[in-house]
Symmetry: C2
Subunit: 220 residues, 2 copies
DNA sequence: TTCAAAATTCTTGTATACATCTGGCATACG
DNA sequence: CGTATGCCAGATGTATACAAGAATTTTGAA
């Protein structure tokens, strides 16, 4: 399920490259993925290309129908909403579990990464903010102490990345997110698990809403 | 991700067969899956067999390491616990959403399937009870109205099926489950979403506990 | 000119052959 | 006798060839 950092096989390398391109939007939803063409591009035969496509299909990034070929997934708005809701619920679960289980080490990691987010949001370095935001959420995940949950959230985020990609770069959204983080961190660190879960659900819900509004306005 | 009912490709057919055998336990965890051997068995070449194995690896039923081959997944006790906890949390989410969203149609389906579970538990037909139990949970899932959530729960249950397989056949467990269903159904139908979520979490937690106790006693 | 049907072409599914790596075993050396 | 090294068998990764189905184009007639 997890694609290794340094793939030992051609198929894995191809999958990793295509995944990155889909996530960043270089490969647009609906784009057809011709096996032979990809083979030429990567100087490989169709065999490893096919395996790569199956790997991506498994994570939901591409859709493959027998005899019809595979293309970059283009979920409906309704499906995207379901995915956002699901990831929000799972993040909320992670927040609640983190609240109940976090050790001192986790507590420090959460507090520190939250502070780093604040500083990054104040500055203008968008890329830095994104990294710190990821770090904050990762700290919560780690504290939840459930590998399966963390893996699922990661997989879902990959699928949603093409749609949250452009929203993350909007500074005003980052300002709002920082305030939401503020509440979330407070509830987490004070040990109020239900409130932390609610705050997280709200936080992801806001992101989803903005992403969908923007998506509609861009007629995607 | 979803394996079609009537696969049009050899790979899909092989995957479906192997999946069933893993779920029922005919293929034990840790069992090595030799590509050529499987090819002989299904009168197919290694190519579709490899694709089938990749499909199963994606759903977590088999584990595949480059150059080392693939074998039926044998998660650690800790990993199984994480999976049970995760599915419990997701079922709880489904229960809460179902509570908030169910239409009259869903309400009837939940009440009816619950009643069917009661009757089946009173009788001795274990297979019937299992089907009715699935129906009850499916009714809740449907009411939650989130396809992505339903799909995830289904995938997780597949991965856990080898471990809950033997517990489901124990009549005393079914008696207890029926009582848990009673509480769950009451909360669902009365519209108490948080209580329904708690009841569901508790319900799955009980199952997990029993499954793990039994697994340990059987030295799996 | 337009619609329909057939043929061609292109893409995917499968089979087979070759390359490369892993693991075991035997042999030789310390 | 224990350990290390090198060879060999077997399995996986990749490439190529062939088969079958889908889409497009072309051709024919109305």
């Amino acid at each position: 399920m997890e694609i290794p950092a340094r793939p030992l096989t051609l198929a894995g390398e191809i999958a990793a490259t295509l995944e990155k391109e889909i996530i960043t939007g270089d490969l647009a939803p609906g784009q057809r993925l011709d096996e032979q063409m990809l083979g030429n591009r990567f100087n490989a035969s169709r065999t490893p290309v096919r395996e790569a496509l199956r790997l991506l299909a498994a994570s939901g990034l591409v859709t493959s129908e027998p005899r019809l070929g595979t293309l970059v997934s283009r979920p409906t708005v309704s499906e995207i909403m379901d995915l956002f809701e699901l990831v929000g619920e799972m993040e909320a679960v992670a927040a609640r579990l983190a609240c109940e289980r976090m050790t001192e080490h986790h507590r420090i990691a959460i507090a520190d990464s939250h502070e780093a987010c604040r500083l990054a949001a104040a500055g203008a370095d968008v890329d830095l903010y994104i990294r710190m935001n990821d770090l904050f959420h990762a700290a919560i995940h780690a504290a939840s102490d459930n590998r399966a949950l963390i893996a699922q959230i990661g997989a879902l985020n990959k699928r949603l990345m093409p749609y949250r990609h452009f929203i993350t770069f909007r500074p005003e959204r980052n300002q709002a997110a920082t305030q939401e983080h503020e509440l979330l961190a407070a509830k987490l660190l004070s040990g109020d698990a239900p409130a932390a879960a609610r705050a997280m659900r709200e936080h992801v819900g806001m992101l989803a809403e903005d992403a969908l509004v923007l998506a509609r306005s861009l007629k995607l």
